[in-house]
Symmetry: C2
Subunit: 329 residues, 2 copies
């Protein structure tokens, strides 16, 4: 399934051009998609298609488009956050410069839509529904990204837990969980269960909080730099909890430390923040919220999935959702 | 017609949101579209729709989408070129920061497609043709932009006339002339004349060269900074001609001057370049090429348009094409 998905992703992209500079452009368009990745969202979509009673192949191009979405968004996110690396290699804009990378992301965005415009397996009405679902997901993701970026711009570190949850619901949860599950239903020709959005939001939020927690656990090796989120001053539920409980003077200290540029932060700075996080139990708090959200989301999802036609496929889908909820890396 | 087009552009965009930060995001999405502009491409499309025998209203949403394309591309172009102003106000990224502006451009891009996905006036097959035409136009534009940006990245100033023409054909001509004319035919339910691409390319290239020429004519007031293109070291046909004719030592001098950062360039630097341009007649050369291209393009376009059903409308379309070919500002 993963192999077919990888093939579908790459075959939606242009391969070569007689003009060398444009051949190079096409290679850049293929760069992030060729770096691989877990293809988590595409696989969720395919398993959801199967669980809704269709062949998973029915959802293959739509799953590939969802992966292309992830890839162009990552190119642009990496520019916006000035990230250094992506999947073990330099971020595209670090290697090619920001202008070239931005334009490559735009081109990849268009190839995503072109794939969706020329789906073979659906009626015009189904295709229209799929297109509107995609636009809805991407618009919400951009809205969540805007909240996050506008806090960065305002140098606001003391966001509340509610603000954080709203941001990650928009930015991560829709396109990571409820979106793929809903798209899978649509690919199988069924209307998505209305409860998928709230259940998927719970699980997606848990997934993101868990990501934030793992980043601050030195004993976990999950491929990202330990405490990188503190160096980047990323807004997390951990910091939201900490700001809500720290004293006024500690809040001031935190803001000063977080506001430093990434390369100006010392190991001592990071340790000071980690000590405060420990003092107020903010990591444990975030972990508990993640577990509660994951458990509530999973339990509702299982109810929904129990009503679906293809129960043998539901087992596989549930397994993937559980691993996503509990993610250890 | 212009008023209806303006309304169609703005009504495709989100208006308000109960969450203040997202209401602000929506205002940013509407920012460039609300700044107005000539709406040249949208109007061309509407006149082409009418000339092909349909009511121009039939093309209104497609014309609005083409204007939205122009607007999200301008947000991203302004970031890529680090432009200071757009339509008399600061460029979006100058006011909001690059990350926020980049994300606003992505959101606007999605609203463009959403408008095209929900056209009322067309059959599914017609809509599919329109969508593929749009994707084709945007991909070519991105390819032209890549050529331009990769020359900037490589600090290549000595591009040949052929390379320049290839770049502006991709980057400007398709979406400015042949694209709107072809889309107008499709909106009227007719297959576009195959000669529209070459005729539109001639006219679009002339339009761009004329833009470059006007920038170096001090007596022309057309809303952009005199010699701004030299400060920005923009690749133009004028420079292509100059590099092809200057001596080796002059080429070296030119490269040194152009390679300086914008704010390091002095008036003397610019005057040195202008003197060389004058010595080799590069401005006159570019002007002649623009006139020859415009005249060849217009003459072929008139042939094509003479065969169309609505000759009263063809008169209006021809007038707009002529003003575009001769642009004095």
């Amino acid at each position: 399934m993963l192999e077919a998905l990888n093939r579908a992703v790459l075959s939606a992209l242009p391969k070569t051009h007689s003009q060398p500079d444009l051949a190079r452009f096409y290679a850049l368009i293929r760069d992030y998609p060729e770096r691989g990745g877990k293809r988590l969202r595409g696989l969720l979509l395919l398993l959801s298609t199967a669980a809704h009673g269709a062949n998973w192949q029915q959802g293959l191009e739509v799953a590939a488009a969802l992966e292309l979405f992830q890839n162009w968004v990552l190119i642009h996110d990496d520019i916006e956050d000035d990230s250094l690396e992506r999947r073990g290699s330099p971020a595209l804009h670090q290697r090619e410069g920001m202008p070239v990378a931005l334009n490559v992301g735009d081109a990849l965005h268009v190839y995503m839509w072109q794939l969706l415009h020329n789906l073979k397996a659906f009626s015009p009405a189904q295709q229209n529904t799929l297109l509107n679902e995609f636009a809805w997901i991407i618009q919400r993701t951009a809205e969540g990204q805007h909240l996050d970026l506008s806090w960065v711009k305002q140098q606001r570190f003391d966001v509340s837990a509610e603000e954080y949850i709203e941001m990650v619901t928009l930015k991560t949860a829709h396109y990571t969980v409820s979106g793929p599950l809903r798209l899978g239903a649509l690919c199988a020709g069924l209307p998505p269960d209305e409860r998928l959005i709230s259940a998927g939001t719970d699980l997606g939020v848990a997934f993101q909080i868990r990501d934030d927690v793992l980043n601050l656990m030195p004993e976990v090796s999950y491929g990202k730099e330990f405490s990188g989120d503190l160096y980047e001053a990323k807004r997390t539920l951990i910091l939201a909890h900490l700001f809500a409980h720290a004293s006024a003077s500690e809040q001031l200290e935190l803001k000063t430390l977080l506001a430093k540029a990434r390369h100006d932060k010392t190991a001592d700075d990071i340790n000071s923040i980690l000590r405060l996080i420990k003092r107020y139990g903010s990591l444990d708090y975030a972990q508990e919220i993640a577990e509660a959200r994951a458990s509530r989301g999973l339990s509702l999802l299982k109810q929904i999935l129990n009503e679906l036609p293809a129960q043998a496929e539901v087992v596989k889908l549930t397994r993937l959702l559980e691993s996503l909820a509990k993610r250890r890396q």
